[in-house]
Amino acid sequence: MATYKAPIRDMKFVLYELLEGDKLCELPGYEEATRDLVEPILEEAAKITEEVLFPLNRSGDEEECQWNEGKVSTPAGFKDAYTLFREGGWTAIACDPNYGGMGMPKMVNTMVEEMICSANLSFGMYPGLSFGAYTAMHGFATDELKDTYLPKLVDGTWSGTMCLTEPHCGTDLGLCRTKADPQDDGSYLVTGTKIFISAGEHDMTDNIIHLVLARTPDAPKGIKGISLFVVPKYLPDADGEAGEFNNVSCGSIEHKMGIKASATCVMNFDNAKGWLVGTLNKGMQGMFAMMNQERLAVGIQGLGLGEASYQGAVEYAKERLQGRSISGVKHPDKPADPIIVHPDVRRMLMTQRAYMEGCRAFGGWVSQQLDISRKHPDAQRREEADEFVQLMTPIVKALFTDLGYEATNHGMQVFGGHGFIREHGMEQYVRDCRIAQIYEGTNGIQALDLIGRKMPDKAGRLLRRFFHPVQDYIEQNVMDDELGEFVQPLAKAFGRLQQATGQLARVGMGKPEEAAAGATEYLRLFGLVGLAYMWCRMVEVAKDKQDGDEGDFYRAKITTARFFMQKLLPQCSSLFSSIMAGGSSMMELDEDLF
């Protein structure tokens, strides 16, 4: 059966042993985030996710959201769970205290997000989208709009959405047709149809606040004519509560492969009143503020699901008796050995573990830099950290969701035939994880973002935010007696990444298609080097603690690091070969021959 216990010990390891989480409270604005506060927050988040959200995961998947005459009902138990979640202040965790938020750092929130995604991704979509809407408004809306909407989004009595996609316009938002007619009072009347709107309509909050991309009548064509509007389902009345209906309706919901308890809506705006957020025709700014945050959050979804799948698989592998160990009977008292004795089962479990622990550390690092980019008193440090986060955003999104998907598949495979049966909950993780590779910009788009935008930006300065610290680390540690074993494979993979980067940069100038053809492999190569670097640093922390009270924990880290270096990192060789081979073999075939 699926099972979930929040990996608090590992989270504390990442926060406080690997990444100097103790220093978070030195950043202005994060004074509260001391370890003696953060740890109880993680413990309580663990309780809620394990005891309240996780038990609704399978039932939510079976029941799905239901649409009836424009109303959407969430599966049984969701509304109560949301109320408990909201009243507990969890929607407010990372929000601005000026609007009722708790002001916790991203680093802490990332850990909480992971738990939510592990326990019940569908549920997590609702507060997740609200947080996205909050972010765009917090960054770009007028004070008046902020005062009206943010307190409600923060305390969770209202929820939010982001309305980008239209039937004919997905990745290419410049094709957006939804129109916004300016009115004399400064508002706009928004008309159009948006699809794939997560949390677009549901029964858990009093009001739903849509952030809608639309164009005004005389806006320039394409992406430069897109503006962002806030359009509530119900207009706020004089007291600031949900008042008159605003002609925003849900036409239907999609029937999906996964995250079935998350309502994916067709939203119709029919002369709905809205207000401009940010500058006219610069709607993509606000949308990107939201989207970058969401991309990191989607990466965490992959991690969360991979972790949940790993836990279920481990439990099963220890209990399921089948066959005997090929090195001799391990449990003579039992009719067969548990399947965890078999090398191939180990391969799957270790792969899940090495990927997920690596991603947790990597995600922690990116979150830490995000906190620094927002709060550090030194402008230069902020800028450097921001460049690092920009570089890593597409990598976290695509790498974590790809590895999460691989991990959930391994977890299902460990269960054999039972993994294919819904009752065991393992196939749900695979289905739920599948969307994470698609939405918020497909992983292919992330790879293009990496090579097309992030790589050349500021003449390669973003790249240096990763390459320099890794290069320094390798130089300092490659000869170390204990670390050398781990740093050497890192150095080799890093060398390939540098070479591949040079190659893509060169061919990208003249033949962009050649570079684009290798983008997906390049992103994965980049990500694996990032994980390898994190594994080296984890070994560095763990090696001196092997004989202490928690020796088991640290020895397991080192063993897992070794597995990563020996069994997973070698993928870099084939990725490298593929990148260097260029893209002619895939572009050559005439379209008619497909």
């Binding site: 109880p40 309580e44 809620i48 309240v52 507990g88 969890w90 708790m102 928690e550």
Partner: protein, 249 residues
Amino acid sequence: MKVLVAVKRVIDYNVKIRVKSDNTGVETANVKMSMNPFDEIAVEEAIRLKEAGKADEVVVVSMGEKKCQETIRTALAMGGDRGILVETDEDLQPLAVAKILKGIVEKENPDMIILGKQAIDDDNGQTGQMLAALLGWPQGTFASKVELGDGSVNVTREVDGGLQTVKLSLPAIVTSDLRLNEPRYAALPNIMKAKKKPLDTVSPADFGVDVTPRLKVLKVEEPAARSAGVKVDSVAQLVDKLKNEAKVI
């Protein structure tokens, strides 16, 4: 009215207990610790009394190593007002705990003390009763319902074969059973507030209590593994086995 609640830091109820290889006890290194679930219920009951306007202050006491602070903070995050940690690395047994609590009671003068009926680690189920004896206070143990009256409290107890309701005059001691209430989840703002609530640290010596264990653990072993059953041929054989092998009839 002041309510005193005692909470114990124990191995989390979800953890699969492992016996130490030298048979001196159970493994606690690298094991998740939490508040004893019965004590959580005790804290919840005290907070509900406060929320209902029947109590003015909820004081939370814990004893043991410094990390018991975390357990007290958990109770403060649920809604307790302040904490007292009796810090000691000594293995505390129920009598020592009861004696220290008596010392705290004499200083704090609470009107009611609520404790869990037992802790899930040692399962002694003695502290509340011992404390009542030491103080000479009435006790309502295994409570599934607590109704505060004027200068008294009605406690419904879960006893063999049903429920028994006793009326205790205050001050009194109540120990909580599982069905008394369902403890709340701490809300984030309250977790943040809990950090700033007062927490005093004292030591057993402050109360002149000698905490030296009176009982010595000789050996801790895992329960014997269950062996396979046998099929009996007849009722007569079953009766024979029950009588002569199992010796239960």
